[in-house]
Symmetry: C2
Subunit: 215 residues, 2 copies
């Protein structure tokens, strides 16, 4: 057992198990599972509070969350998705299941969130060599958000088939920001027991020994 | 309350609280807090298993973990850090506390992990418009790893003051991969109750209302 100073939180097996269960139960939720039921303000706050507990390079906290409710803007985002997805479908064999997949829930989810990276206006500690650390901090915030949403039984989908430039234009986002992720959130009828693409045998799950190497 | 299908895990307030506590207690650990005590194999496996439960674009799982134990390689990585950090220090005012900060634990931590992104050799579902989704998946895996490490009372530091090219050369990593993060892991004497840069008043913590906007 480890020994930490008296006032330090030492997590136990049960708590480790809870985290594992949340990590395992988290899914990328597509449109057909979202329910038309708003997320309560208190729950949304919990989810966003989790996001901003993420690590950030030089404690820069370079994140911004644009909560999109306006149905007209969401229609425009959906239109942009359709356009890009038509292009994407052509990159896969015609025999592929690609076109049968539902890949977003922009209109079905009660809430969309555009997650932005605010470009620095001063030198950031730790970001001097690797510029990407800023964006990476925002991705860590998204993953925190995703896990806390699942803990609150709220589904999240990350919609990546969108041009950042178009999304920024639709939402009126200035050049000071970069789009990192476009998320759809809402309660769901169901969380799949495994990732959908695994169930569909699109790809197999990699095991630890396939992705680890010692030097 | 939400109602899900019978076989779906519904998390409760207590479990949400455990997640919140882990998210809040996670710290970026620097050299002076690492203990010279190896991480047990079973614990390391738990931490890596958590990493690969992360979401990945098109279920591509484009991650690879290089576990660095070789002291000679770590010396070389440390040397690279020193070089880059000397350059970095010049970017801050001489009155700044920058040079007094310990920013890495490459040699103190019992384990270093280089986390890589494996560039795709085929078209990846969901990555057709935004190429960066692959790297972002790897960042999600790092955040999962970080949280599970904290749940096991293991500290993690992300060392970003390193040139990716040099790290790849030192570790003999081929061009098929891109370095996303260089992590140091180990048991610690202490987890700070707040981020070090917050305690040092380097920057203040942003509140929710500063980073959220509705449209």
């Amino acid at each position: 057992m480890i020994s930490l100073c008296k006032d330090q939180k030492v997590f136990d097996t049960k708590e480790q198990g809870v985290l594992k269960e949340i990590l395992s139960a988290r899914r990328d939720v597509r449109g057909h599972h979202f329910l038309d039921k708003p997320i309560e303000d208190a729950i949304l706050t919990e989810i966003l509070e989790a996001a901003i507990l993420a690590p950030s390079v030089g404690f820069s906290q370079p994140w911004k969350f644009i909560l999109v409710q306006d149905p007209l803007k969401r229609d425009e985002i959906y239109h942009e998705f359709r356009k890009e997805n038509t292009k994407a479908a052509k990159m896969f064999p015609t025999t592929s299941i690609y076109t049968s997949l539902k890949l977003e829930g922009i209109k079905e989810a009660p809430l969309n969130i555009a997650v932005l990276y605010q470009k620095p206006t001063k030198t950031i500690l730790g970001q001097t060599t690797q510029k990407k650390m800023g964006e990476y901090s925002v991705v860590c915030a998204i993953q925190n958000l995703w896990l806390m949403a699942r803990a609150h039984n709220v589904g999240v989908g990350w919609v990546s088939i969108l041009r950042a430039k178009k999304v920024k234009k639709i939402l009126g986002i200035s050049n000071e920001y970069k789009l990192v992720g476009y998320l759809t959130l809402g309660y769901v009828s169901k969380f799949l027991d495994e990732p959908e693409l695994l169930k569909l045998k699109w790809d197999e799950r990699k095991r630890i020994k396939e992705v680890v190497e010692w030097v």
